[in-house]
């Protein structure tokens, strides 16, 4: 059973769970994600594998409370079990030695970024990480990212930690200062869009990891489709990482809002019940 063996709140809305999943811990690669269900009536929710411990047979997932399902997930305690957990899903990140890698993470996007940063560092790259969030308490996994980075730049909207400003400012500073061979960006769609526009200006190959809406996660439904280079792709099987300069971010953001009205009603009903 997929028992929760460790739980920690990074902030009021961001929770880290370490879950028993020996086979997934063994098979997973950076970039992979899992799909889980919290309860019998639960949704299937995709979450990236932030870390794994093969010997203990556990994986680490990090979730931000954004609706009914993540709220329920955050309410689970150590000793509780997920009723369903499947993975690893998605293509693994293409990690190789390219020289200098700029890794940009926004909000909980830092969680999926962590194994990728680790991978690039282990492959012998110089890794510079830029972590961004609204304020200090929303910056997560800073120490873990530091462990695998040559340099870490922190950006907050309110200046409560690191520098005041957006992720793109931190990133541009690095690009102007030294040669960057590749960039990887994970975070809210809007942040990925603007980071991608920036790196395009400087002709830096960039990968973005997308958090599309999903149902099955195995390529069966097409809920997760995105347009990349003018072609429709399924995030769960063709991604989750794509060439950022080819992604139609506006369409992606529009699709993420596809269930807004329904979700809001559902969430209000849930909060009234609990």
């Amino acid at each position: 059973m997929n028992q929760i063996v460790e739980k920690e709140f990074f902030s009021e809305n961001v929770v880290k769970l370490v879950v028993e999943a020996p086979l997934i811990a063994k098979a997973r690669k950076p970039g992979n994600f899992v799909i889980l269900r919290v309860s019998e009536n639960g949704e299937r929710i995709p979450l990236t594998i932030a870390a794994a411990d093969e010997t203990k047979g556990t994986i680490t997932i990090i979730a931000q409370k954004v609706g009914v399902s993540t709220e329920k997930l955050a309410q689970l305690e150590v000793g509780d079990a997920l009723i369903d957990l499947v993975g690893p899903l998605g293509k693994e990140t293409d990690i190789h030695n390219v020289g200098t890698v700029l890794a940009c993470g926004g909000g909980v996007g830092v969680a999926p970024l962590l194994p990728i940063v680790e991978g690039f560092k282990k492959a012998g790259n110089r890794v510079i990480s830029v972590l961004a969030a609204r304020s200090k308490d929303l910056i997560i996994l800073e120490d873990e990212i530091r462990k695998w980075s040559d340099e870490v730049i922190i950006m907050t909207d309110d200046g409560s930690h690191g520098k005041k400003g957006l992720v793109t400012q931190g990133a541009e500073e690095v690009i102007l200062r030294e040669k960057v061979n590749e960039c990887i960006v994970i975070g809210p769609a809007i942040m990925m869009k603007f980071t991608s526009l920036l790196t395009k200006k400087y002709n830096i190959p960039t990968q973005a990891s997308l958090n599309s809406m999903m149902v099955d996660g195995t390529g069966m439904c097409g809920a997760c489709r995105v347009t990349v280079g003018g072609k429709t792709k399924f995030t769960c099987v063709d991604g989750p990482e794509f060439d950022a300069h080819q992604i139609d971010f506006d369409e992606m953001m529009m699709r993420l809002g596809g269930y807004k009205t329904e979700e809001k009603i559902d969430f209000e009903q849930f909060m009234n019940r609990s």
């Binding site: 086979l23 997934i24 098979a27 269900r37 009536n41 639960g42 949704e43 299937r44 009914v68 399902s69 329920k72 009723i83 369903d84 957990l85 499947v86 993975g87 690893p88 899903l89 149902v215 099955d216 195995t218 390529g219 069966m220 439904c221 097409g222 809920a223 489709r225 995105v226 347009t227 429709t232 099987v237 369409e251 529009m254 699709r255 809002g257 596809g258 269930y259 329904e262 979700e263 559902d266 009903q269 849930f270």
Partner: protein, 493 residues
């Protein structure tokens, strides 16, 4: 005479069947009209997603219908059945009120009779070869209804016959997927003495039977009772397990699995790649049906959501399209429209589904093809442009090819569009097995024994045929079981 026809003759010569044949004169049988399946009224059924439309024959109806069957010396109906059910024998068992034996006859060759009695396209198979139709030009015996009757009778009796299994032979085999092909394979292999594990990627067993076909056509509990029989026979089920990802084939071999059956289905939905298709409110039938059937999104107590529409268009003319459009109606659509590029007679859906859809007030926009979708500011679809078609020369499928009529474009208001234009084979397995030979379309290539280019790997169902049918998938599973057994016995000599 072949073994099969000798066997059938022997069964037909049993005393009870000879007696039964003499009980009524031919005319007394052929003068009986074909039974009508009792149904919930259209007004009532469109209010419930989970209310089965066909309510099943009563005992009296079944007895009369069974007596229509002439118990022909040359039962052509069997030729039309992909798993060669001994049709006259099961029907005659119904006629003499031996319902348990009727069910048992079905289960000799069909592991899921309660399912097949509901979803097989009988009008294209057994019933199309019935003596009544071919010789008398009358309506055929309602073989499908009778199959369902016998299977349901057994299920309702509470005493399910658990087929006997040979002593364990110490060998382990696995299936990839838990759709009908894998289930029939598992049923046959466990009977032969193998240890069988069914691996399924989703959190439910059953493949399309669970995530695709709606409850109003095939109640989940009918599937569950059949699954329970397999469990009692000793088949192990592992959900949330993606073969090739959660564990590789090599890992499973190390665990002692000696043979694999891939029944991973044709899961990948096709889209038309026309402008505006990625707008919100346009989804594949797989997504729509999965949200409702597997995740229960029609019920407030479940967290999964599904978009509802007032004006719903469903693109396509197959079973999937019918299931989607009828689901939309049940979820409150005012207009639920089938948009299909050929005419009604070419529709691949079961005839009964089209009839039911019609009764439920589904609109049919035939000879029409979508060209483009338009959306409101929030990106939600609000209009579709369709072009009218006419039928030209027959194409490779033998059906007349639809040809666009210039200048015939019209716009219709829609707020939900479901695309049901077919599926492609699930690429997961081929992607993790470079030595596996696949066709241009991504289907796994197999020989007549359902064996792939990797000798320990057999395959069947939609991953081999592209989108096909439940019964063909089950037939493949049976053939694969037979061949894999022979293969594993020879290599281990």
């Amino acid at each position: 005479m072949t073994i099969q026809s000798e066997y059938l003759k022997e069964r037909r010569d049993q005393e009870w069947r000879a007696e039964l044949r003499n009980k009524l004169k031919g005319k007394e049988r052929t003068n009986l009209p074909r039974v009508h399946m009792p149904e919930e009224s259209p007004e009532e059924r469109v209010k419930h997603q989970n209310l089965e439309v066909n309510t099943g024959l009563s005992k009296e109806q079944a007895l009369v219908e069974a007596s229509r069957c002439m118990d022909c010396a040359n039962p052509t109906c069997i030729e039309g059945c992909p798993v060669q059910i001994n049709i006259p024998e099961f029907i005659k068992n119904i006629e003499r009120e031996e319902f348990a034996l009727a069910a048992k006859t079905l289960k000799q060759t069909n592991a899921l009779p309660a399912v097949c009695g509901r979803v097989c396209p009988q009008e294209k198979q057994c019933e199309s070869k019935c003596f009544y139709l071919t010789k008398l030009k009358k309506e055929p015996v309602a073989i499908g209804y009778l199959e369902r009757f016998a299977a349901d009778w057994e299920q309702n009796s509470g005493i399910m016959d658990i087929p006997e299994c040979a002593p364990k032979n110490g060998k382990k085999v696995a299936t990839v997927g838990s759709g009908p092909s894998s289930l029939s394979f598992a049923g046959d292999m466990i009977k032969l003495g193998y240890e069988v594990t069914v691996f399924e990627a989703l959190h439910e067993i059953g493949g399309v039977l669970k995530y695709g076909i709606p409850e109003f056509r095939l109640p989940n509990k009918k599937v569950d009772i059949e699954l329970d029989v397999l469990k009692k026979m000793g088949v192990k089920f592992e959900t949330n397990f993606i073969v090739g990802r959660t564990a590789s084939f090599d890992q499973l071999k190390e665990e002692g699995y000696e043979g694999f059956f891939v029944g991973s289905g044709a899961g990948l939905p096709r889209f038309m790649n026309i402008p505006g298709e990625n707008n919100n409110g346009i989804l594949s039938s797989n997504e729509y049906l999965t949200r409702v059937n597997l995740m229960g999104a029609n019920n407030d107590k479940n967290d999964t959501l599904v978009l509802k529409g007032k004006n719903v268009a469903v693109i396509g003319g197959g079973n999937t399209a019918m299931d989607s459009v009828r689901t939309a109606k049940r979820l409150g659509a005012e207009r639920a429209i089938i948009v299909y590029r050929r005419s009604r007679v070419e529709m691949p859906a079961r005839v009964e589904e089209v009839k039911h859809a019609d009764e439920e007030g589904i609109e049919f926009m035939n000879l029409a093809n979508p060209l483009e979708y338009f959306a409101d500011e929030a990106g939600r679809v609000n209009k579709m442009r369709v072009q009218m078609m006419e039928l030209g020369e027959p194409d490779s499928s033998g059906r007349r090819r639809p040809v666009p009529i210039e200048g015939s474009e019209t716009d219709i208001d829609v707020d939900l569009v479901i695309v049901a234009v077919g599926v492609s084979p699930n690429p997961l397995i081929p992607a993790c097995l470079p030595d596996l030979t696949v066709s241009r379309w991504g289907t796994i290539e197999v020989n007549d024994n359902m064996q792939s280019s990797i000798p320990v790997l057999f395959a069947g169902g939609d991953i081999v045929r592209g989108g096909a049918t439940v019964i063909l998938a089950m037939g493949d599973g049976r053939n694969a079981a037979k061949s894999m057994h022979e293969y594993l016995m020879t290599i281990n000599k």
